[in-house]
């Protein structure tokens, strides 16, 4: 927080709509802290109300207003003078008080009732979830605080937590519904051993439009005096929780809320209830994409539980790899078409009889082709070939992407490995699960690639013999 030099007025010029043309530092800082754009409408509600009054009546204004800035109260004497092409704003008396001085017994009563020290550090983000205000200094957080303008999702990695009683991703659900949220689990991206619990509430402007969120980030282990200390999520929490009830828990705890998120975000992005600002529509569409991604993770987690079970096996039957390759390509047709990618499948009539599980093999091929669609350039081609040789049936998926360094060929089959991916691209489980499924069918998934030369993934299964 920055206060002006004693007695020095703080000046700003506004255009006829009340947008800031220029503002001196303390006011510019107050505007930023309130989530406002440096050249947008005044975002401090009490100041904005005065500007509107001056604009409506075309009359100079000179009066006191209060505003909150971080933990402090700012009391200002504001003068607004309408001019030919806008307004001249001047703050001639800037008083900072923190906290507000309540009289006598009232103060102690209030402090007992409402002023418990909050754990963690406060943050505020704008509509794009970029940090606008952070006060991490006093909390001795022992790591780099977020920079102003840095996206929250670039600073924190948000974790889904499986629990029947809470939403797995409270932040995502709250964003879609413009609601407060609490206990969003997150890790620092720079050091994923540092876990946080984030809570926040939406900020709205005078017209009711979302301006951003503000809240507190509490490091695991930090808590209010007298409150049970929170503990970090257990090591490898997702896997530790795998047990006989996982399927039910996944369905109850994840599918339903994520389905709601996708449905709500879809409703907003498709503007079924009326037109919206374009950035809101895009924002909702992003939330829907993120929701679908979460749903894919749910699927992967369920599969992961299955493939990691000791003695995991699958029923084997006669399958045709060529037919399954054509089916998988059909399933991915829309996604590929969006990027102008053509999937060239084995011609009709070609067969590659193999011994495996129909559904699981289709799943592997879908995963290999989805990876190819994700990595290959726009307007390129993915080839899917099958052949039968030396008692084995093979399906080969080849793309024209950037390729994979040979030193990474084994790493990409590890759990949660998302080589070169970011954001909502993949869970890092697909290849791991595919290989595990192939093993369960007596087969293998391998890669042949070099940097800059595309990648060839091969699913190898035993040949079907009567």
């Amino acid at each position: 927080m920055s206060a002006p030099l004693s007695g020095e007025p703080v000046r700003a010029r506004l255009d006829a709509d009340g947008r800031i043309i220029a503002a001196e530092e303390p006011l510019a800082r107050l505007q930023a802290d309130a989530g406002g754009d440096p050249h947008g409408l005044i975002a401090v509600p009490s100041l904005a109300a005065l500007v509107r009054l001056a604009a409506r009546l075309h009359i100079p204004i000179s009066r006191a207003v209060r505003a909150a800035q971080g933990d402090a109260d700012i009391s200002m004497w504001v003068q607004i003078r309408p001019e030919e092409s806008g307004f001249a704003l001047s703050i001639v008396d800037w008083q900072v008080s923190t906290p507000r001085q309540w009289p006598g017994e009232l103060g102690s009563l209030l402090s007992r009732g409402f002023r418990q020290p909050e754990p963690g550090w406060p943050w505020q983000v704008d509509m794009q979830l970029r940090f606008r205000q952070v006060d991490a200094g006093h909390a001795a957080i022992n790591h780099e605080p977020p920079r102003e303008g840095e996206p929250l999702t670039a600073y924190f990695r948000l974790d889904a937590v499986i629990d029947e009683d809470v939403s797995p991703m409270p932040l995502v659900e709250a964003l879609a519904l413009r609601l407060p949220f609490k206990d969003q689990h997150a890790r620092l991206r720079v050091d994923e051993a540092i876990h946080y619990r984030i809570s926040g509430e939406p900020l709205f402007d005078e017209q009711g439009a979302l301006m951003g969120y503000r809240g507190r980030a509490v490091r695991f282990g930090e808590s209010r005096v007298g409150e049970k200390a929170s503990t970090p999520p257990p090591k490898a929490e997702i896997f530790e929780m795998f047990g006989p009830g996982l399927g039910r828990r996944v369905d109850q705890a994840l599918r339903q809320p994520i389905g709601r998120i996708i449905a709500n975000a879809g409703t907003i992005s498709e503007q079924r209830q009326g037109s919206l600002r374009e950035d809101y529509v895009n924002y909702a569409a992003d939330i829907a994409v993120a929701g679908r991604h979460l749903l894919e993770i749910v699927d992967d987690l369920a599969d992961l539980q299955a493939v990691e079970r000791p003695g995991f096996t699958v029923a084997k039957e006669e399958i045709d790899l060529a037919d399954l390759a054509r089916r998988a390509a059909g399933l991915l047709h829309v996604r590929a078409k969006e990027r102008g990618i053509r999937i060239q499948t084995p011609p009709l009539g070609e067969v590659a009889p193999a011994r495996g599980n129909y559904r699981r093999t289709l799943q592997i091929l879908c995963n290999l082709m989805a990876n190819a669609v994700r990595h290959t350039p726009r307007d390129s081609t993915i080839w899917v070939r099958v052949d039968v040789e030396k008692g084995r049936a093979r399906a080969i998926v080849a793309d024209q992407g950037g390729g994979i360094d040979p030193s990474d060929h084994e790493r990409i089959f590890e759990r949660f490995e998302r080589l070169g991916l970011s954001g909502s691209q993949g869970s890092g489980l697909g290849l791991y699960i595919s290989r595990k499924l192939a093993h369960a069918m007596g087969g293998e998934v391998t890669v042949d690639s070099a940097l800059g030369q595309g990648a060839r993934f091969t699913l190898d299964l035993p040949l079907w013999r009567e």
Binding site: L57, I59, P60, R63, W77, R100, P103, L110
Partner: protein, 359 residues
């Protein structure tokens, strides 16, 4: 967007409840009725929540303010097509014309005039020479020049209010912006009406000239020089402990505006709301404000006595005053805190809570 958010639908749903009026609607009706009653009282001297003294003081302020605005508009009209209008209508035309057009006064402007008149009336009856004022003496020891300057400006502004009650004299229109805007257009409208009456028809050039004059007055108004603003600046210039120290002195010297500004700084309520609570019908509101500022029983007694001419003269009788102090003793800090917290709730929440109580 959502059907449930449609206020029309919500209102319709609400009316299904036995046809009971919504609290918002009943509040508006009540406000309209009260405004009508106030206007009637102002025009005809009917009974109501106005004491005779307050009524006379309000009319004095209204007349003085209108005279000043009319005079200023007349100066702006010089050398224009409507130059002769003020002379043709005669001095004080707007003040006399409003007597038959009280409905032109908005509830907000009338409410402000009532508060202003109450403050002025109490000052008129309880003048303390500047040299004997403990407001000056207490602060002087601290060497707070900012406060002393603001207090001097406030004293001069208040002195303008309680001069001789001559209805044809102008009074400096040191009103808050919204009320000044309202008053200027009220006077302009009356002058347009007067011009039409003189000429037998509307003259667009005259209307345009009056509108330009009104706009000019409005554009150069400085609400920061009004007594309300000066009282606020006075209170802002003091540290918190001095505000508590000066609050009893402000009440003792009938400086209601200064006292309200001190409360505003400490409690965060709006100045006009504090004045309404001081001047209103409920003793509990006065108790809360006094307790918030840690006012002693003796000063509370003196305050009740002071306010009686504007609240109800009967409240100034010995038995009533004793009762006031007794109930004040029972009204402790926790009561005051609850009162304050309730008043700081958003209005919409207060409406809903009231609705819950009624259901």
């Amino acid at each position: 967007m959502m059907g449930g958010d449609d206020p029309v639908q919500q209102r319709h749903d609400g009316e299904g409840d036995g046809g009971r009026l919504s609290i918002g609607l009943s509040r508006r009706l009540l406000a309209d009725m009260r405004h009508d009653a106030d206007l009637a009282r102002l025009a005809e001297g009917g009974s109501g929540r106005w004491t005779d003294a307050l009524l006379a003081e309000t009319r004095f302020h209204l007349a003085g303010l209108m005279n000043a605005v009319e005079l200023a508009i007349g100066l702006e009209l010089a050398d224009g097509p409507a130059e002769a209008l003020p002379a043709q209508l005669g001095a004080g035309y707007a003040r006399q014309a409003i007597e038959t057009k009280f409905a032109l006064l908005s509830p907000e402007l009338l409410g402000h005039l009532r508060r202003r008149a109450a403050v002025s009336l109490l000052l008129r009856h309880n003048q303390v020479p500047a040299a004997q004022s403990s407001l000056t003496l207490s602060a002087d020891q601290g060497g707070n020049n900012r406060y002393l300057d603001a207090l001097a400006a406030l004293t001069m502004a208040e002195r303008n209010w309680h001069g001789p009650m001559l209805l044809d004299a102008p009074m400096r229109p040191d009103l808050p912006a919204e009320h000044y805007h309202d008053l200027v257009w009220t006077v302009a409208a009356l002058l347009v009406g007067g011009g039409e009456r003189l000429m037998g028809e509307a003259d667009p050039a005259l209307v345009a000239a009056l509108a330009r004059a009104a706009e000019t007055l409005i554009a150069r108004h400085d609400e920061g020089q009004g007594a309300f603003a000066l009282a606020q600046r006075c209170a802002r210039s003091l540290p918190s402990d001095m505000r508590f120290a000066l609050a009893p002195a402000a009440l003792g010297e009938a400086r209601l505006l200064l006292f309200a500004a001190l409360v505003e700084c400490e409690a965060g309520l709006a100045l006009e709301d504090i004045l309404d609570a001081l001047l209103g019908e409920r003793d509990a509101d006065r108790h809360a404000l006094l307790r918030l500022m840690e006012i002693e029983d003796a000063v509370a007694f003196r305050t009740a006595e002071l306010l009686a001419p504007v609240t109800d003269p009967a409240r100034g009788e010995d038995a009533q005053l004793a009762e006031f102090v007794e109930s004040y003793r029972a009204y402790d800090a926790s009561h005051a805190m609850h009162w304050l917290v309730e008043r700081m709730n958003p209005r919409a929440l207060a409406d809903k809570l009231a609705l819950l109580e009624r259901s």
